[in-house]
Amino acid sequence: MSMNPFCEIALEEALRIKEAGFAKEVIAVSIGPSQCVDTLRTGLAMGADRGIHVETNSIFLPLTIAKILKSLADVENPGLIFLGKQAIDDDCNQTGQMVAALLGWPQATFASKVVLDKDKNVATVDREVDGGLETLNVDLPAVITTDLRLNQPRYASLPNIMKAKSKPIKKMTVQDLKVDIKSDIEILEVTEPPKRKSGVMVSSVDELIDKLKNEAHVV
């Protein structure tokens, strides 16, 4: 199992903020089956201080994940929550926004640059939007979701991987966090897109027009 690429970027940004002296601790969180521990170990090897694994074998949709993260935030009281903008399996792009709403915190999504001002307790975030770049000031604590161009995540070095083995990963369950996991959405099916049909060779322009008119109905 490998870490969601946007999550790697989120973790990298958090580590840089800590290394700059703006944060005391970076906590990596993962919600899912036992394989999540591998991903958390990678995160610890990159530099996170401790990990939290909320173990479950069910497939949770973004709202449930957001509720779990909110419960954790209530317990841990972070100053900033970083998430990848979306997961590459479901491409939902919802969790970060939902966490912010549940917590009542400001949010800055698709971040391509994050600048912290500790004195004013504000983060200035450049966001990548369709029209270009939008710059927002968000009061801390806030939720930031990361986009591709924010940073280049570091490799976990072998000595760090070895050290990470002794960093703590706390195991929790959904019951511990008292979260209602009933989902209002049910995935009915997932299908592949239709296979591209091969082209047909035509022998003359007339035949082409005939096909376009009578078969494809585009003329």
């Binding site: 940004e13 280049q152 995540p153 570091r154 490799y155």
Partner: protein, 584 residues
């Protein structure tokens, strides 16, 4: 980005006491507090008190630097192009160094069997032994590919209770079919194989399981780290390996996420890199290990494999089919295999010996042709391809085994070359060689014995007997397909290797390629997208994904040779012989 580098070494040295107190502290370079807003991209290293910084601009804490001794001013590294360079540590970044009792390069059947055996011995004799396995694949089992019809002989010795431990060995071989193919027909011949008692498996699943077993016993396995250099000490003894630097861009410059490699040292180092391992080849050359026992050169074959999911009605778990003949010509040694696994999957592949003469031969295209043969097509029709891959195998057998022990360690598995060619099986012998090397290493570390006991025990073992009996099959094919088959039949039914002579291999594979003007180009049919495919489609199914911004993995010793020799004389065979088309 700030970095601090600490020499983490557990060896007792005059400085270790001072280092020990530093080892467990978090060393932080204090940032000057500033009222300016901070951005991660505007960080520049603050001037450190004594301006001690290496040439990459990473500042050292002055106190730390004073306490470090140079790693070893005399340590030499056998670099990529074979030029030894003496490394003066103080002028470069100090690489972290980690030490183990035994270091194993490669988490394949040989490497993991060695690790398991070492940990078993250390438990039996109550002596603690630190064992580290480095593996270049992103996960254990990720770089392993093989047919595979598995003979559990070595596994029975290593882990006798594997049947109760959920080993992914479930489908017993149920039949052995052997076909001689012509363009349109398949003739059933008496099978030279006897796979009763063997299992049709996925070797990567078995390796993953072995990795789990090794970790349970306390082995440290690090996937994602490839060994790029061998480390030597002043007396030319191997002391370990160095992992590759990561985060280098295509032009060789360091990227933002540059990470220097680390030195991993072992009191004994075992190389288990598989067929033609890069470091193993350098070791064999350096210590002249083939010359030492008058071994011949190694010869190779290329195996190209696909896993298909077929129609339930055509699936027969445990069925083992081998073919000879078409599409290969009588002068080219090779054949195909089709093994029925579980879950409606079959493993299908073509093996082509690399001493073929026709420079226009394209092993990948020959494999695509094979799939259109009526006998094979019938099985595949209605199915889908799941995966694709290719790997070289050893065909040298007994004649090509080098002396596998060198100062500081040994070579195990296919890196030395224990594949039984007529059986087309190398997994069981690789595992046994790993186990024997582990026993020798344990003896060398704790009982004052010599690593040479590995060689002695190898020659007393069933590996030697088996390879000796099988030694004349492959060389017989130098006389052609039919004489080869005749001699093979004689060997199989009558002689069983009990002849006083040993046939020799022909020329080295690369010397067997004929000049292009003696042959006409082969016209291969276009892929139909159902049974046969083009290379990009197949590559997609091999699940390889490389970051584009990295230096090329292939470095030419003389970049003019492709223009001056390959193209005019051999019609650029490199554009045909690679099943991943890496030569463009």
């Amino acid at each position: 980005m700030h970095r601090f580098l600490v020499k983490l070494s557990s060896s007792s040295s005059p400085f270790s006491n001072q280092l020990r107190s530093l080892k467990n502290q978090r060393l932080i370079l204090p940032l000057l507090p500033s009222s300016k807003p901070f951005t991660s991209s505007s960080v520049s290293p603050p001037p450190s008190p004594l301006n001690a910084s290496n040439r990459f601009g990473y500042p050292y804490s002055a106190d730390l630097f004073r306490n470090l001794s140079p790693l070893n001013p005399n340590s030499r590294i056998l670099g990529v192009n074979g030029i030894t360079s003496s490394r003066c540590i103080s002028s470069e970044a100090v690489r972290e160094s980690i030490e183990y009792d035994v270091l194993i390069v490669g988490a394949g059947p040989a490497g993991l069997s060695a690790a398991i055996r070492l940990k078993q011995l250390s438990q039996e004799k109550n002596i603690d032994l630190s064992v580290c396995v480095v593996e270049k694949g992103a996960e254990v089992g990720g770089h392993i590919i093989s047919g595979n019809v598995f003979e559990p002989l070595a596994l029975d010795e290593l882990l006798p209770h594997w049947r109760q431990e959920h080993a992914p060995i479930e489908i017993p071989a149920s039949s052995d079919k052997f076909w001689f193919l012509t363009k349109d027909r398949a003739f059933s011949l008496p099978s030279p194989f006897d796979n009763k008692g063997n299992y049709v498996i996925s070797l990567s699943q078995l390796v993953r399981w072995l990795g789990g077993k090794a970790e349970e016993l306390g082995t440290e396995i690090y996937p994602g780290f490839s060994a790029s250099e061998v480390l030597f000490d002043a007396s030319d003894k191997v002391v370990g390996i160095a992992t590759k630097d990561m985060g280098i861009s295509k032009d060789g410059s360091k990227k933002e996420n540059f990470q220097p490699g680390v030195d991993i040292k072992g009191r004994v180092t075992l190389f288990a890199e598989g067929c033609r391992g890069s470091l193993s080849e350098r070791i064999i050359k350096k210590y002249k290990l083939r010359e030492e026992v008058n071994a011949q050169h190694q010869t190779y074959a290329l195996g190209i494999k696909e896993v298909w999911e077929i129609d339930e009605s055509k699936h027969n778990p445990g069925e083992v089919i081998h073919t000879l003949g078409w599409p290969l010509d009588p002068k080219t040694y090779g054949g195909s295999f089709l093994y029925h696994m579980n879950d409606r999957q079959v493993a299908l592949g073509l093996v082509v010996a690399l001493n073929y003469h026709n420079p226009f031969l394209n092993p990948y295209e020959e494999f695509q042709k094979l799939k259109h043969h009526p006998a094979i097509k019938g099985i595949l029709e209605g199915g889908t391809v799941l995966q694709y891959g290719a790997r070289t195998l050893n065909e040298g057998g007994f004649q090509s085994i080098p002396y596998p022990v060198f100062p500081g360690g040994a070579i195990i598995g296919c890196s030395a070359g224990f594949l039984n060619v007529p059986k087309i099986k190398g997994t069981h012998t690789a595992m046994k060689s790993g186990m024997l090397a582990a026993e020798a290493a344990f003896g060398a570390l704790h009982e004052g014995l010599n690593m040479n006991t590995y060689w002695d025990n190898l020659r007393d073992s069933w590996v030697w007997k088996e390879l000796y009996a099988a030694r004349n099959y492959r060389p017989a094919f130098e006389y052609g397909l039919l004489p080869g088959l005749a001699i093979s039949a004689m060997e199989h039914y009558v002689l069983k290797g009990k002849v006083p002579f040993t046939l020799k291999h022909g020329k080295a594979d690369h010397e067997a390629t004929d000049l292009a003007r003696k042959w006409t180009p082969i016209v291969y049919p276009k892929p139909d997208g159902v049974l046969s495919f083009d290379v990009p489609t197949s590559l997609y199914r091999s699940n390889t994904n490389h970051d584009h911004d990295q230096p090329s993995h292939l470095r030419l010793r003389d970049p003019k040779i492709p223009e001056k020799v390959n193209f005019p004389e051999y019609a650029a065979p490199e554009s045909r012989y690679c099943p991943a088309r890496v030569y463009e």
